[in-house]
């Protein structure tokens, strides 16, 4: 980084302070005309501040650490213990929030407890639906609530990231498939693209509004100017290549596959087409659309024939979504021609990606297909933070300004000891960036598609040098198998064979990895 860029942050932040000042001047004018309202407002806010500070003590535990313990158990294959840990961490919280249900659903899915997982996720989905409704009625809410302008992002109920909301219904669909409920999966997948469209509309509105606001205030927000922030974690060509943070090719490809399985070609083609648009140049995605009519025609020919080959979609998920960690950066704030430094926290992403390398699907002894990476939650999460960064910076500057003002007030008025104490506590305790994120999501999602004869197969999934083998019973024209590798452990789920209850899932482990799965007795 060049020297000129390094000196720029101070300038930028000075500009932002000026912008905040201008806003204050405007508000001051307003208070002159309606002072009683302002006094009432101040009272309200004072109460609000106290409440936030008290609440803060309960909330300010490190989510990062808590979930880290749970996920360590998951990667060690101790899924039941992980669920127990997750419950015990949540146990003393009064209100279980969106995040609790998101993580719980994922853990239960890994454990193969799909019905319970569905319950948790549907609970999460209800909370997202409330958000959707509010966002539709009050788009201004999306400009990030004012609540954390003063205190801390963590005191807000977890609103969920856009991509997490889209992933939620996608994963609900995967659960339905694991339960053999194809029609219910269709409902979930339909909600996925409807939700995506809603988010797109809301975000478009938000971008327009924020551009207006930026134009009026003359405030330049650029996180790249933050001295000491690891800019490269959220600013790279791959991150910028994403169309946005919430659309992903996997959800659309799964939609295409599901609609194709249900014989709804017109919807299937839209799913495949959108997947291609989001992730261009992937042969697997292009074959999905190009071969759609041919596959349908072939299936029609053998409509009464039971020896139709099974179109097996293998979903290979690796790693964990990146963790958010709080880092403190000293922001220079100019107050009465003096420069003060206020420590302000910013979230930084830490990668939890799985091993790199090919994902290979082996049926019997033959290599059948190579998985194509089509969705990276890791990148989406980075993009989401990048898009959010201007607001985080704006809030940080506002908070820093308030803090400096409070500290100055406290130091000048010797007699108000309590105030001083309070502000000190405020500046220490309240500074911690929001570390919350749906961490048990996979970092990378790859898919492969193979056509195999119906019957019992040994299917091997090789992920970055680790091999997992499963014995599965396939019949019917379509099946979905999902393998999730976390650490050295792999978790598997498969849509049950329609004709029999003799669903065999038997795992052998090769190499260092251990495989965990729904283990049912071999009934043959």
């Amino acid at each position: 980084m060049s020297q000129s860029i390094r000196t720029k942050p101070v300038l930028i932040l000075l500009q932002s302070v000026v912008a905040v000042r201008r806003l204050q001047a405007w508000l001051g004018l307003a208070s002159g005309t309606a002072s009683s309202t302002v006094r009432a407002a101040l009272g309200l806010v004072a109460v609000g501040l106290c409440v936030s500070l008290v609440a803060a003590c309960a909330v300010f535990r490190s989510y990062h650490l808590e979930l880290g313990q749970t996920l360590d158990l998951v990667s060690a294959g101790k899924i039941d213990a992980a669920i127990g840990t997750h419950e015990s961490h949540a146990g003393d919280r009064d209100e279980k929030d969106l995040l609790y249900f998101l993580e719980k659903g994922e853990l239960l899915r890994l454990a193969g407890r799909y019905s319970e997982s569905q319950q948790a996720w549907l609970e999460a989905d209800r909370r997202v639906a409330v958000w959707e409704e509010q966002a539709r009625l009050h788009p201004e809410m999306l400009l990030r609530d004012a609540g954390s302008l003063l205190v801390n992002d963590k005191t807000r109920a977890y609103p969920g990231q856009d991509f997490e909301k889209v992933m939620l219904t996608t994963r609900i669909a995967l659960n339905h498939l694991a339960l053999g409920e194809w029609d219910e999966a269709r409902v979930a997948i339909k909600r996925t693209h409807e939700r995506e469209a809603l988010i797109a509309a809301l975000r478009a509105k938000q971008v327009r509004r924020s551009e207006q606001a930026a134009g009026e205030s003359g405030y330049t927000r650029d996180f790249r100017e933050l001295n000491g922030y690891p800019v490269e974690t959220i600013d790279s060509p791959e991150i910028n290549a994403l169309r946005n943070s919430y659309q992903n090719a996997f959800s659309h490809y799964l939609a295409g596959f599901l609609y194709e399985a249900l014989g709804e070609t017109s919807l299937a083609s839209a799913g495949y087409r959108q997947a291609i648009e989001l992730q261009p140049g992937v042969a697997l995605l292009e074959d999905g659309l190009a071969g759609l009519d041919a596959r349908q025609a072939q299936r029609r020919k053998v409509v009464a024939d039971s020896t139709v080959r099974t179109d097996l979609l293998v979903v290979v998920e690796t790693g964990l979504a990146p963790a958010r960690r709080s880092v403190n950066i000293n922001l220079p704030i100019v107050k009465d021609e003096e420069v003060f430094f206020a420590p302000i926290s910013f979230p930084v992403l830490e990668s939890q990606a799985g091993p790199a390398g090919a994902r290979e699907i082996v049926v019997g002894e033959m290599l059948q297909a190579e998985g194509a990476d089509i969705t990276s939650v890791d990148l989406m999460s980075r993009r989401a933070l990048k898009d959010e960064m201007p607001w985080i910076v704006l809030r940080a500057v506002t908070r820093a300004t308030v803090k400096v003002a409070l500290q100055k007030a406290a130091s000048e008025e010797e007699d108000s000891r309590t105030a001083r104490a309070a502000t000190k506590i405020g500046s220490i305790v309240t500074e911690q960036a929001d570390e919350r994120a749906w961490r048990s999501l996979p970092a990378e999602i790859a898919v492969a598609r193979v056509r195999v004869e119906p019957g019992i197969h040994d299917i091997g999934v090789d992920v970055g040098g680790m091999q997992h083998r499963y014995r599965v019973n396939l019949d019917g024209p379509f099946a979905v198998m999902s393998v999730r590798q976390i650490g050295a452990t792999a978790y598997m789920s498969i849509s049950p064979a329609s004709s029999s209850d003799a669903t065999l899932q038997r795992a052998n482990t090769h190499g260092d990895g251990q495989s965990r799965h729904r283990l049912e007795e071999d009934v043959l």
Partner: protein, 193 residues
């Protein structure tokens, strides 16, 4: 002056809270199912109804239908060439329903309903049914004509304007000789600014 900055932040909070509290009372009403819907640019109910109606009326005037011979038609896919999730079967279902009501066209079972048709036919072949009234296998009537089509869209946008153009095309093919007996198009343009 010292509390100016706090005051400003507080005011923002209060304003936002007021904004959230206000306008919360949303009313639910039943509307006109056939009203012109312009909520957004996506393919919507009005587009579906316009296409179905326009195609039905046009098809009724096609010579093979207008001659009163009550041709037997089967409905095939309408290909979705847009990147929107449009269920084109909803459109063809509407067209079929209107055509059947006109009394001028008959429909043979299509590919989608074939599985159910066969399973019901086979089910009736059991000893529990009165042989006199059982549907016989091998008596289904094949269609003389088939309907197929496509829908495509052209979407353009800049910062201020978004424009969507849909083109729906439907064709009636003679199954025996492969002749195109009728074809028509409906185009729809929508602009949001």
């Amino acid at each position: 002056m010292k509390i100016r900055s706090i005051r400003s932040a507080c005011l923002i909070m209060v304003i936002m809270a007021a904004a959230l509290a206000g306008g919360c009372s949303k009313q639910v009403r039943y509307g006109d199912a056939k009203a012109v819907e312009t909520v957004n640019l996506d393919f919507g109910s009005t587009d579906l109804q316009l296409i179905a109606e326009s195609m039905t009326r046009s098809l009724l005037q096609a010579p093979v239908v207008a001659n009163g011979s009550r041709p037997i038609v089967t409905v095939q896919d309408v290909k979705n060439k847009t990147s929107e999730y449009i269920d084109t079967r909803a459109i063809t279902d509407s067209i079929r329903a209107e055509l059947v009501k006109s009394g001028r066209v008959r429909f043979a079972v299509d590919e989608v309903a074939m599985e159910e048709q066969i399973s019901e036919l086979e089910r009736q072949q059991s000893e529990y049914y009165d042989a006199e009234q059982t549907a016989e296998i091998g008596r289904m009537v094949g269609a003389a004509y088939r309907l197929q089509g496509s829908i495509l869209s052209i979407v353009k946008q800049n910062e201020d304007v978004k424009d969507v153009y849909y083109k729906f095309n439907l064709q009636l093919w003679n199954v025996q000789n492969g002749l195109l007996e009728w074809s028509d198009e409906k185009d729809i343009r929508k602009t949001e600014s």
